[in-house]
């Protein structure tokens, strides 16, 4: 417990951590301030007009769909001015992800229900970066400066010391991420309530947002542990940064290009970014050109396959867990300078 308290104090006293928290607050403040400045509570006339426009838009969709069906059945002649797809189900309003609603036609009005998800994604992305960098610098700087050696002279139990460092880091990171994300969402909810629209918060809105939030927190922890582990293996903060930069350039960009040239099947399945996206969003639908090419049965084929959060979590856990196990194994045996 004493070691945890000492590590917590060391972590919070680090300049880099303080700088990243300032940046987080700054990004948060700027986003909230610009949102607040660019939003207003809509008047009754604006709402009424927007509702009317939404109704008209939905009616137009229905009309277009019916025209498509009529042309397909040969009831009416094709209008050459209007593009109609071969498969009219693409235009079926009942099959659309969402239909136009009034808020779509309110300009300069912040809608919390619509913006909460992208706002949360932005915060999670920042926290993932924050966690990775802080995790890497926390151990990297200590290894490089001799701080770990100093600590081991007091507590000559390597795995305990490293484990306490990682545990303290993850706990602190989780606490920070929870507080930051709750404060962040609460602020925008208040902006929506007072200077915009709360939007449609019923149904599964909160549970869906909560699920993304929970998965985001897990991603933050995995990124933090990975940064910590790579810096431990490389004995330096820059090792973690180098590995990520090399991976992004060599694999995510270079290999993706090569795989596309050789027409490899489903190259996205080899990319970590795919699994991160699938984990965060619950699933991703990815285009596979060969899927329909191989389909000779005549059954409708949309050409997409789905990657869900379950295999994505497994991949992320294996990578972060593997790196962490390797880091502990290396730290247990290596000579420390």
């Amino acid at each position: 417990m004493n070691l945890v308290r000492a590590e917590l104090e060391r972590l919070s006293a680090r300049r880099f951590v303080q700088l990243m928290i300032v940046l987080l607050v700054l990004a948060f403040g700027i986003t909230a301030a610009t949102t607040l400045a660019g939003s207003h509570r809509p008047s009754a006339d604006e709402v009424s007009s927007a509702r009317q426009q939404a109704i008209e838009a939905r009616q137009n969709m229905e009309v277009s769909y019916q025209q498509c069906l009529a042309q397909r059945d040969g009831i009416s002649t094709p209008d050459t001015q209007e593009y109609l797809p071969a498969d009219c189900s693409d235009m079926d309003p009942a099959l659309q992800d969402r239909l136009p609603i009034a808020s779509d036609y309110l300009s300069g009005v912040f809608n919390f229900a619509e913006q909460a998800k992208p706002l949360l994604f932005f915060l999670i992305a920042f926290l993932v970066l924050f966690g990775f960098l802080v995790g890497a610098s926390y151990i990297g700087a200590d290894l490089n400066s001799g701080g770990v050696v100093n600590l081991l002279l007091w507590r000559p139990r390597r795995l305990t010391v490293l484990g306490t460092k990682l545990g303290t880091l993850l706990a602190a990171m989780l606490a920070l991420a929870v507080v930051a994300s709750v404060a962040y969402l609460a602020t925008f909810w208040v902006i929506g309530q007072t200077a915009g629209l709360a939007g449609q918060l019923g149904g599964d809105f909160w549970s869906s947002l909560g699920a993304i939030h929970g998965r985001g927190l897990v991603l933050v922890l995995l990124a933090t542990a990975s940064g910590f582990a790579i810096a431990t293996l490389g004995r330096h903060t820059s090792a973690a940064l180098g590995v990520v930069a090399a991976y992004a350039v060599v694999w995510e960009l270079g290999a993706r290009l090569v795989l596309a040239i050789v027409d490899a099947r489903r190259p996205e399945q080899l990319m970590l970014s795919t699994y991160i996206g699938a984990w965060l969003d619950g699933e991703v639908r990815i285009w596979d050109a060969q899927l329909c090419r191989r389909n000779v049965s005549g059954v409708s084929c949309d050409g997409f396959y789905t990657l869900t959060w379950r295999p994505s979590l497994a991949v992320l856990l294996v990578i972060a867990g593997g790196l962490t196990v390797l880091a502990f194994a290396a730290f247990r045996r290596r000579d420390l300078n």
Binding site: A6, L153, P156
Partner: protein
């Protein structure tokens, strides 16, 4: 006396794909007994710091046996770590922490009472600068802080690697007094240093390492006595004539300008009598005692060619009976 540190046959080779293997410590032995202030000497790259790191579990030894306060190290070092204060090379501290906060963190991590922080700061002379940030400290002050961190535990054994680094003459003297007072209080001190005069002044025992092997060990005065050639510096009128007279008395005499270096006797009165009987009156008769520096340079081969820059791996290794400088004056050696 009980052994506080025992090292037998320590071996450590650093392996590198790029630079190949480098033997840092090769069958090294060390014995430090309770209550000693034990000097640990060796040229750069001779294996001093590697030995201390291995002893403290920071470097994995390839072979040999070590124990600290009776516990095998590094396996059971945690059992006695609370009684061992150590600094290895110059430890780094967070620049934006104050000295007091730095020590408080270490005390907390090690389960030591926070009240020890002020005592330790006081002991090393940093009481009034404890609330300054470490980045504002001079090298000597950082070294004092490092020593304070080692003293926090109120240790039974203090291991100090180059504690005088960066200290001014007054600081070195204070460090010397501190070690003496700690020793008087029953603390065993193992100190490595390049400042040989300091080691000679404060240490009662010494171990010299060269190329990873022990080349001398024992009480400081006994190590020095082992290298005493029983030479005397003699100043006299007509040194050439004096040299001839001494040679006829079966003494060895070498004239060197206005002085003579005479050997072949342990009795200085023999020299003054031979010269006095022939009417040559001695103006100065000084025994030439070896100091630790000359012994160190001789044993490690560090001073063989003063005009040629010495490379760190060119130190002498231990030699055998055929002219070897290996000296072991331990009353109870580690092999005993």
């Amino acid at each position: 006396m009980s052994a506080v540190i025992e090292i037998e046959g320590l071996r450590k080779t650093f392996r590198s794909v790029r630079n190949g293997n480098r033997v840092a410590v090769d069958g090294f032995d060390l014995l430090v007994e309770a209550g000693q202030i034990h000097g640990f000497l060796g040229p750069n790259g001779s294996g001093k710091t590697t030995t201390l790191r291995a002893l403290l579990g920071l470097v994995r030894a390839d072979g040999g046996r070590m124990s600290v306060l009776g516990e095998p190290s590094p396996e059971l070092l945690p059992r006695v770590a609370g009684q061992v204060g150590a600094i290895v090379e110059s430890p780094q501290f967070f620049g934006n922490f104050t000295g007091r906060r730095t020590l408080r963190l270490l005390a907390r991590a090690g389960g030591v009472s926070i009240s020890r922080v002020d005592e330790a700061l006081d002991l090393v002379g940093l009481r009034d600068r404890g609330d300054d940030r470490v980045k504002s400290y001079s090298l000597g002050m950082k070294q004092r802080l490092a020593v304070a961190s080692a003293l926090l535990k109120d240790p039974r054994l203090l291991i100090l690697d180059e504690p005088a680094n960066g200290l001014d003459p007054a600081g070195i003297r204070e460090m010397r007094d501190l070690m003496r007072s700690l020793s008087a209080a029953g603390v065993t001190v193992l100190v490595s240093s390049h400042i040989l005069g300091e080691i000679q002044l404060i240490c009662d025992h010494v171990t010299i390492i060269s190329r990873g092997r022990r080349v001398a060990a024992g009480r400081v005065d006994e190590v020095l006595a082992g290298h005493d050639r029983h030479e005397f510096l003699v100043r006299v009128d007509e040194p050439e004539r004096a040299a001839d007279l001494l040679r006829t008395a079966d003494l060895t005499a070498v004239a060197d300008g206005t002085a003579l270096v005479v050997s072949g006797t342990t009795d200085p009165t023999a020299i003054s009598r031979v010269l006095g009987e022939q009417g040559l009156w001695v103006a100065e008769l000084t025994p030439l005692r070896p100091d630790l520096e000359s012994v160190f340079l001789e044993l490690t081969g560090a001073g063989e060619h003063p005009s040629v820059p010495r490379q760190v791996d060119e130190a002498a290794g231990p030699r055998g009976a055929d002219g070897t400088p290996v000296i072991d004056l331990d009353v109870r050696g580690v092999d005993a």
